[in-house]
């Protein structure tokens, strides 16, 4: 039955309304988890607050398992779910530039909107920067178009390149995540900060 919009079960207007509702849930959870604070987010990189690691990996695993079970029950056709394509060069270079932006600016795009919603002016400045960055990319596009389109690998999934089933890969990722959670909890005790 799912995805609802790809299978044309719901009209476009309802789809856009649900986008708004899903966004409300997204913003509410991010804010409740503390992602509206740049110093809490940055804590990830100094070890004093690993909320980002815990929320991020728990969310990825939950959604991954949810999709697997929905598929098993016949509630969603996984072949119709969008798989982000892999352009290896731009994934690496783009990821590295985003990482630099993260540690300098203290937010990523989603969390900056979440922080703006509760009145953080540094988030507003970050969002201003986002617009400039996207504008620069758009205007200078011919300069980096080759890099942007280099090493197109299609849309491979982790389990196919490792030669295992989706379920086995999911299980391995859960083990890895649990190990990282242990490291995160240890790190928060090792590098504590009372006030930030």
């Amino acid at each position: 039955m799912g995805p609802l919009i790809v299978n044309e079960i719901i009209p476009e207007g309802l789809n856009l309304f649900l986008a708004f509702v899903i966004g409300i849930g997204f913003g509410f959870v991010l804010e409740s988890s503390g992602f509206s604070s740049s110093r809490k987010l940055a804590g990830m990189f100094y070890g004093y607050d690993t909320t980002v690691l815990k929320v991020f990996f728990t969310a990825a695993i939950t959604a991954m398992l949810g999709l697997l079970f929905f598929s098993l029950f016949g509630w969603i056709d996984l072949s119709l779910v969008y798989i982000n394509p892999t352009f290896m060069t731009s994934a690496i270079v783009g990821g590295a530039i985003m990482g630099a932006g993260f540690i300098l600016g203290g937010y990523c795009p989603g969390t900056s909107f979440c922080a703006l919603s509760i009145g953080k002016l540094d988030a507003l400045a970050f969002i201003g920067g986002l617009f400039i960055g996207v504008f620069i990319f758009a205007e200078g596009y011919p300069l980096w178009e080759t890099m942007y389109k280099a090493n197109n690998m299609g849309a491979p999934t982790m389990n196919t390149i490792l030669g295992v089933s989706r379920g086995v890969f999911a299980f391995l990722l859960i083990i890895v995540a649990l190990a990282m959670f242990v490291v995160g909890e240890w790190s928060e005790k090792k590098f504590p900060r009372d006030e930030y």
């Binding site: 004093y48 991020f56 969008y82 540690i103 009145g119």
Partner: protein
């Protein structure tokens, strides 16, 4: 915990993670795609340029490629509606927790002005990188990982890896 200021109390991160995962699952179930944030900004930039410089847009490759792959305008963009929801949802959570306040958050070691300057620089880099990398932490890393995309895992590794690698050099901004 009794003494902790109410505004400093946050949801348990593992509970928050499960809830965020369910939101992401709902997005996939409804639209067949995950969440995103930078795509909404791209849509806003393209729409603005279409309004202020239509001739430039018609002859510039980035915008023509974008129009070719996206139909419907700004208000018919899934990610734009979703990000408007983020503002509403974040505001609601902040209101409930008593965190609504105009504020420049920064380390006591730096001034508000310095924080703002670095926020703009960080935003420029993140905005540029998200276009090159086909999505940000939400759209490429988190949503990509949920569907086991190799690119999603690579984006995640390089976003967090680079931030870790540079953290020491900019520690005064944060600690």
């Amino acid at each position: 915990m009794e003494q902790t200021d109410r505004s400093k109390r946050y949801l348990n991160p593992y509970v928050g993670g499960v809830l965020l995962g369910l939101v992401l699952l709902a997005a996939n179930f409804v639209s067949g795609r995950g969440l995103g944030a930078s795509g909404a900004i791209k849509s806003a930039v393209v729409s603005t340029m279409e309004t202020v410089a239509p001739q430039h847009v018609a002859t510039t490759k980035f915008y023509t490629e974008y129009s070719g792959s996206h139909d419907g305008g700004f208000w018919h963009n899934w990610l734009v509606l979703e990000m408007l929801g983020v503002l509403v949802g974040g505001f609601a959570s902040g209101a409930i927790a008593g965190r609504l306040k105009w504020k420049v958050e920064h380390s006591p070691k730096i001034t508000s002005k310095r924080r703002i300057i670095f926020a703009v620089i960080g935003g420029i880099l993140f905005g540029f990188g998200s276009q090159l990398g086909r999505g940000c932490t939400s759209g490429s890393a988190l949503s990509g990982m949920a569907v086991l995309s190799v690119g999603g895992f690579v984006s995640m590794a390089f976003i967090f890896g680079t931030a870790f690698a540079l953290a020491y050099f900019v520690r005064k901004l944060w600690i």
